[in-house]
């Protein structure tokens, strides 16, 4: 049997894979960049000074007045990114001389998500003022200044879960006490509704491609993860072939396009523990212009939820039962939820998460490309629960 050495892909194989799967142009660029860098050395611990020098260079390319970087320190960047906090003393436009606490967020030698920092920059910039998002300042999309592509945000304080909450890694399966979830749940729904009704056509989202009418949106979405599966998976999974076929056969049309966050769940917002106010939404790297049902379905995944105190009521993203969530969303957004589209995107999201865990987590950890290979190897394990969820969803659909 002929097997491809995915750790050393040839230019011909990269080109053939690009041709097989139609995806958005910037998604294609980011995935191709990943494959072209695959033979690069494993990740080795970067000295903080290297990141400081990179961010110094990036900011110097953007500012004409003197500035100073101080108080640089590492932050936990989760499974897919490096993060460094620092203070910038500068002449802030419209404000004057001030010291601003900032965060640099960069890719790794290879990340759990091979995505575009420029897309992240554009979408956060577009949503500023409409949704709680961190201030976004500069982007280095092709690692011209930084060791890896990166983005500079303003620092926002807050927590992703109550200090005494239990949960798994990366904010998965976080149990939130009833008193807290009662305050977070309405904001969660309200923010999702606001995101999906945002008029994106007035914003600069030049690196996002608009899908054609009909089912083209779903096709682009599935092709993205089909391609990543092809590029990253080690051992094949027959159920993934069934799922991909099902997703292509059942791709629904989208009647109204929205900005889709792509990872809208507990763990990706920060809130004040004192008053339970959501301060900011993070992790926009999987965002796209597509079908709002993708986000709705994401939030309802079993991977991100927990059971309530009664042990039987499943809480969407650890916050509220699914029926309540859907009803509250429809009321807040004025948009109907199509149960068939919701179901479709539940299958799609499980599919994409399985690709990320079973294929990409494996590939990155095996090649030693991240700062947390041990976390990525651990995350592999969720892929089996997700497969069973996906299998069950496909079975129910037929």
């Amino acid at each position: 049997m002929h097997t491809i050495d995915k750790d050393r892909p040839t230019p011909e194989w990269i080109a053939a894979t690009r041709k097989r799967f139609e995806v958005e142009r910037e998604v294609d660029r980011a995935l191709t960049y990943k494959m072209e860098k695959r033979t690069s050395p494993p990740y080795t611990k970067l000295p903080l000074e290297r990141l400081v020098a990179g961010v110094q260079s990036l900011i110097a390319s953007q500012l004409k007045t003197p500035f100073e970087i101080t108080e640089a320190q590492w932050l936990s960047g989760g499974a897919s990114k490096l993060q460094m906090a620092f203070s910038l003393t500068w002449d802030r436009p419209g404000v004057g001389r001030e010291t601003t606490r900032m965060v640099l967020r960069t890719d790794l030698a290879e990340s759990l998500h091979a995505t575009s920092r420029l897309r992240e920059y554009q979408v956060v910039k577009a949503l500023t003022g409409s949704l709680p998002v961190p201030p976004v300042f500069w982007v280095d999309n092709t690692a011209e200044h930084l060791p890896y592509p990166g983005i500079v945000y303003g620092f926002v304080s807050g927590v992703t879960k109550p200090s005494n909450a239990k949960g798994n890694v990366s904010g998965l399966g976080t149990f939130i006490p009833e008193a807290v979830r009662k305050q977070l749940a309405p904001q969660f729904v309200e923010h999702l509704a606001r995101l999906h009704t945002f008029d994106f056509r007035q914003a600069d989202l030049s690196v996002f491609d608009l899908p054609k009418p009909g089912s083209h949106n779903a096709e682009l979405a599935v092709n993205w993860w089909d391609r990543v599966w092809e590029e990253d998976c080690d051992e094949d999974v027959p159920l993934m072939a069934v799922a991909s076929a099902w997703l292509h056969q059942n791709a629904p049309p989208v009647e109204q396009l929205s900005i889709v966050h792509g990872d809208f769940r507990t763990g990706n917002y920060l809130f004040n523990e004192a008053d339970c106010r959501i301060n900011t939404w993070l992790d926009w790297e999987l965002s796209r212009i597509g079908d709002r049902h993708q986000d709705l379905a994401w939030s309802t995944s079993r991977a991100f939820g927990t059971y309530a105190e009664d042990g039987t009521t499943f809480l969407v993203s650890g916050l509220m039962p699914e029926d309540e969530f859907i009803a509250a969303y429809e009321k807040a957004s004025g948009l109907q939820v199509d149960r068939r589209s919701l179901h479709y995107y539940q299958v799609f999201n499980a599919y994409s998460m399985i690709v990320m865990t079973l294929a990409t987590s494996y590939r990155v950890a095996r090649n030693g490309k991240s700062h947390q290979d041990i976390l990525l190897a651990w995350l592999l394990g969720v892929g089996y629960m997700l497969q069973d969820e996906m299998r069950d969803l496909i079975e129910k659909a037929s």
Binding site: M1, K45, N168, L172, G173, D234, E235, D236, V237, P238, L239, M240, A241, V242, S244, A245, W246, H248, R302, A303, G305, T306, Y307, G311, F314, L358, Y362, A365, R366, G368, H371, Q372, D373, I374, L376, A377, W378, L380, G381, V382, G383, Y384, M385, Q387, D388, R391, I394, E395, S398
Partner: protein, 182 residues
């Protein structure tokens, strides 16, 4: 099963060397020695794991041969005869086990991978070329196989804590079929 000890050990060693040991109090000799021994033990484990089964079979074959030779040589009184009888039984049992132990673990893993790949390709081919009826039949067969396998995969990883309700997943010991029924 993609999550295998080789990958886990590799990532543990890296985390120990790059994150944990540099953060330890370097003057704490006990902690430093234990950390180094942890890495050493894991490295040894990684080296042994793929060969452990072969190592044991190799020893078993040698002992079976040796027992045969001893049975021919050992002569004595009652105690020796009893010992030789017990040895003969153990030799026979060992030889039977060895007879059944024909495939190495890695061969089984490779056979699993080859079948996974060929099965997935069959699904893709049928999706590209087959009728709707054939596609549905093939999908149903794969879904049924996956359902049974995924229950075992989930049980295998239960300790990781991904299951919203772990009580609905049976223990792995109750799900795996015995390799050989004597």
């Amino acid at each position: 099963m993609q999550l295998r000890p080789q990958l886990q050990i590799q990532t543990i060693i890296k985390a120990m060397m790059e994150d944990v040991i540099p953060a330890l109090d370097q003057s704490n000799q006990l902690a430093m020695q234990s950390a180094q021994l942890t890495i050493g033990t894991l490295t040894l484990l990684a080296q042994h794991l793929p060969l452990e089964y072969r190592f044991d079979c190799d020893e078993l074959a040698r002992l079976v041969d040796c027992a045969q030779a001893l049975a021919d040589q050992a002569q004595g009184k009652t105690r020796t005869q009893a010992a030789v009888d017990t040895l003969a039984q153990a030799q026979q049992a060992g030889a039977q086990v060895l007879e059944r132990a024909r495939a190495e673990p890695d061969e089984i893993v490779q056979a699993v991978r080859a079948l996974r790949s060929a099965t997935a390709e069959t699904v893709r081919a049928v999706h590209a070329e087959g009728s709707g009826t054939v596609q549905a039949q093939v999908a149903a067969t794969v879904m049924a196989m996956s359902k049974a396998q995924l229950l075992r995969d989930r049980s295998w990883l239960l300790m990781q804590g991904w299951e919203p309700d772990p009580t609905r997943v049976p223990a792995i010991e109750t799900l795996l079929a015995p390799i050989a029924r004597g």
